[in-house]
Symmetry: C2
């Protein structure tokens, strides 16, 4: 891997050693990673078609084994939507069924390199399944904390991987408190807090760069909830620019369900921080996050790249979902949020480059919701 | 593509033109395709990581557009089971969630090249979803005939792709009769009858050959029901040998659920044909075929390659499924049939080469069955 230093607190600037398995600063602040990736483009042509082709750009100790289920280098597929040519990055085609495998593969590999034998995570959705999958592959014990209200169907996959599932009564916040208590004894493999997760997700940017003929696209459209995809894409392209491999970062368009749109509200208000949104009732469960921990970071990433935030209605999400399915892309409703935003984007004016939308979760994860949408 | 001639009847040897969209001979016999593939190994290193890297080995008119959702070149992943090193070919990682996308991609591309605008198929499972997906991608109308007893959950994916679903009262045979009646007006995109489907599936053999460093493995283990995977693997390796690219065909081990094992019964009896099996009650729905149309062809493929047929119990299937899940491979029970057979194979004696088992369908297709197995 490239040059690696340490974790750095976003709040107080404190520095913590890389091989200390912490997930936040002593001050409670979010961590980033000071890390300089390396990449030799000449070595890519014969490389394995997984995200591990970018191993030198990933912060994992050189001697560490990777924990891999063959993830990444997902198809970038042309499609014509509303008469406009676009690229769809099929990041739902992962072993556990979502792009979260990118982050889980790296984060669990890091945990194993630290000698950890048990991890905890809180998620009732795709992140929990991804962490359970890679923990299984790595031989680590995994416990996922979920709100009591989580539907049993979503927990079948985690349990099948051998993860313990702890149902926490009360609010989503109660679940977050429970996992933090557990995190005092175990490694907290948080897809929101842990910077290693974002470094795994950034590989989607490297793949887009390579699949488009070693250049950055002008526009990338992503669904946004906790922001792990948005921040991963942003980090990847910033690194590619710093490495001299891309001329500029793409404009990032983050799309939220209007029914749960704290990022959109802050963006249009010109605020530097998100504030809790009063509702989370949307078919796009994967982005139903009322109070994202990294809201300020997401806003900064969007603004400095000249991007924007859109909020789309439930009807627009349903329409975009049907459109995707009728083109052969079987994704869950959260993925349709990005495409609903992309269709808004079409109407804003002529495009000078074919935009990319990232599909995030497999439709097979959402049979009941898809059936109910008809 | 390579040299291409015509369809040839397995029963009466009649020859039919390639660009006639028929699925069987006038005599009622099954068709094969007389086709000589071409492959230039020197061109593979920079080729796209999908099954279309083998386009010159696929029987599609040169001028035809391919119908692609980015399928194929699935991961070949090392795993250690019962202390034995094996390869797992993750052929569940396809757009529609099963390896049947290999056959559907080619067969629907062929249908479109013929100028067909509507296809019919009979399947309540993975083949129906695959055909619906590629019909959607190609802009063809698709109607899938299913037995009335098919669970509604399995039909959600087909309907989402825009396929018509016709529920036929009565037996599985009644469904087969209904689709054949429809096939008089429409293109019958049968995953069992149509030789183009097998030619799509054969790409799994090309991938194994390439992923193993351009050689054939000694042993490939597959679940067997209708035999589309078995016959595809056999065809692919026969072609690779004929092309001078592999020294010999692998030994094929076909595995059936003991509860529905017509191939196994015929194999151990030394019979040349299968006869209808009295039961189809197994958790491995994808191979619950009592009377496979290509039974004789399957038996011949296994015997001439020095292979064998195993029958595994429901308990062995359940155990193999849990083992796969606990290693991070989230597959449906039908995939576990192959691995249950592989574990039997371990016990028969020392291995001289690392065997390959092919995983066939995603676990997300089988949430209810996986939940019930615990």
């Amino acid at each position: 891997m490239g040059g690696l230093t340490a974790f750095r607190c976003r709040a107080c600037d404190a520095v913590h050693p890389f091989l200390e398995g912490r997930w936040r600063c002593d001050c409670g602040g979010l961590l980033d990673l000071d890390f300089a990736p390396a990449l030799d483009p000449a070595r890519l042509s014969g490389a394995v078609p997984t995200l591990w082709r970018y191993r030198t750009a990933l912060p994992l100790p050189k001697e560490a084994d990777v924990v891999s289920l063959g993830e990444g280098f997902t198809p970038l597929t042309p499609a014509r939507l509303d008469g406009v040519d676009v690229w769809l990055k099929q990041d739902h085609l992962f072993p556990s069924g979502s792009y979260k495998d990118r982050g889980a593969s790296l984060l669990i590999g890091y945990a194993r390199a630290l000698g950890v034998d048990a991890v905890v995570e809180d998620s009732s959705g795709n992140a929990g399944s991804a962490m359970a999958a890679y923990s299984a592959a790595a031989g680590l014990a995994c416990t996922v904390y979920v709100p009591e209200s989580a539907s049993p169907g979503k927990l079948v996959q985690m349990a099948a991987y051998g993860a313990g599932v702890v149902r926490v009564p009360g609010s989503r916040e109660a679940t977050a408190l429970a996992v933090r208590e557990a995190a005092a004894q175990s490694f907290y493999a948080s897809h929101v807090w842990h910077p290693l997760f974002t470094h795994g997700v950034k590989t989607v940017a490297y793949e887009l760069w390579e699949q488009l003929g070693r250049r950055a696209p002008e526009t990338v459209v992503v669904p946004a909830g906790n922001g792990s995809l948005l921040l991963g894409v942003d980090l990847g392209f910033r690194e590619l620019v710093r490495l001299g491999l891309a001329a500029r970062r793409p404009r990032l368009i983050a799309v939220q369900a209007a029914n749960c749109a704290p990022l959109h509200a802050a963006f249009v208000a010109g605020a530097a921080e998100t504030t809790p949104f009063p509702s989370t009732v949307t078919v796009a469960e994967g982005v139903a996050i009322a109070d994202p921990a990294r809201g300020a970071q997401m806003l900064a990433a969007i603004r400095t790249g000249g991007g924007s935030v859109l909020a789309v209605s439930e009807a627009e999400i349903g329409d975009a979902l049907r459109l995707l399915h009728r083109r052969g892309f079987y994704v869950e409703p959260t993925s349709a949020v990005a495409v609903a935003g992309l269709r808004r984007h079409f109407r804003e004016g002529p495009l000078t480059d074919r935009p990319v939308a990232i599909l995030t979760g497999h439709g097979l994860k959402a049979t009941d919701r898809i059936a109910s949408l008809g």
